[in-house]
Assembly symmetry: C2
Amino acid sequence: MESSLTISIQDYLKHIYELTEDGKNASTNALSERLNVKPASVTNMVQKLASVKPALVEYQKHQGVTLTKEGRKAALEVIRHHRLLEAWLVQTLGYSWAEVHEEAERLEHVISEDFERRMAAAMGHPLRDPHGELIPTADLVMPLEDSTPLSALRPKQKAKVQSVKNADAELLRYLENLGLLPGVQITVLDYSSFDHNLTVKAGAKVSVLGLNITSKIFVEHPG
Amino acid sequence: MESSLTISIQDYLKHIYELTEDGKNASTNALSERLNVKPASVTNMVQKLASVKPALVEYQKHQGVTLTKEGRKAALEVIRHHRLLEAWLVQTLGYSWAEVHEEAERLEHVISEDFERRMAAAMGHPLRDPHGELIPTADLVMPLEDSTPLSALRPKQKAKVQSVKNADAELLRYLENLGLLPGVQITVLDYSSFDHNLTVKAGAKVSVLGLNITSKIFVEHPG
DNA sequence: CGATAAATTTAGTATAATCTAAAATAGATT
DNA sequence: AATCTATTTTAGATTATACTAAATTTATCG
């Protein structure tokens, strides 16, 4: 009786994964905000995830949560589904880079392992999704990130956009219009140490980043 | 606050649609069996679907249910999703005719209208799914069926297999092996009026139908 | 026609995930 | 150290869907 995880639990695990990528624990409140659920509900669910066997999270009152090995596997499974789906929807149904997230968000919980394998094979086992995010491997390991945030670049440096992380649909559309998407070659023109913003030349087009988003854009091997 | 129907309700409506295609009402027990839910649970849900506003089903104690206009639209929406998905998964991910049903069963509830439109457009707005079943139109009308059950054929008649209805994965695999799938030309060799079984020649291969499945196979314009 | 079987409904219970309101705790500020 | 504030937890209620067991209605058949 292989009782599979509910959508709700998969979502908790996915967001805990993302919130703990920096090594810190995920707080009740941060989870509450991301999941659009009240903090009290998070406490409840997290207590359940910690007491289930095998435990999916490590949890101590007021100290937030981290994933156990099992929890991490389950999270990476969902993230793999999500990123493969994004890649595949863009390739086969002409979704734009910006639109695809929401659709994948719902599908990621219901596709079979067979579906996952077929997509991966059909695309030649891609390493990154359309936003440039790394796709966990079939055996559920997250590959090492080898790119650098755009904010680390200095004037005159050249680089290639590798990924745009944690951005909402509006920002993605904006960047798409600027031509600032994965694969594009850029050159740093100006730098303000005050707000850590850069002005860059993306491809042929000059683009001004008036927004503080340089920590969301990652580039390949900074020159 | 556009509160969309839950998966559970969509499933009830879909199965009520299928059970009432013959004009009869869907009984509590029949629904219970198809949905793998106890009869008492069906009564509960069906009472709810009848009392919700606008009502999704018409219901009277001991008389079973039929769909209202709204209920039918909702059912056809799910069925359209299902059949487009089947067609699309077969075409783009190489699923076999027999395997695809289960996957579509889960996806049908979570894809967006946008996804539906994109699939339909990508395939040139197909009229039938891989099993030959008619696909409801974008405005949620079920096209008229113009095929005949195989059981209506008599010896020597020739026909083309149009669809195979309500068959489980095992039977579909069996038929696939025989080569008895949509599009194949067949000839009736023998007929037993006792059990309504036919022996037919499918394409080049001689096939014996020892099972009582001639009412599940439909053919185009019987000669 | 009335007995019995089958199908259906009622009534009460269970579980999962959420909510609100109130209580408790931790961390920061004097 | 005392207090304030923000975060987190507890407790209890709610919603949706299912379950079991018992009661009831309908159907069947001798």
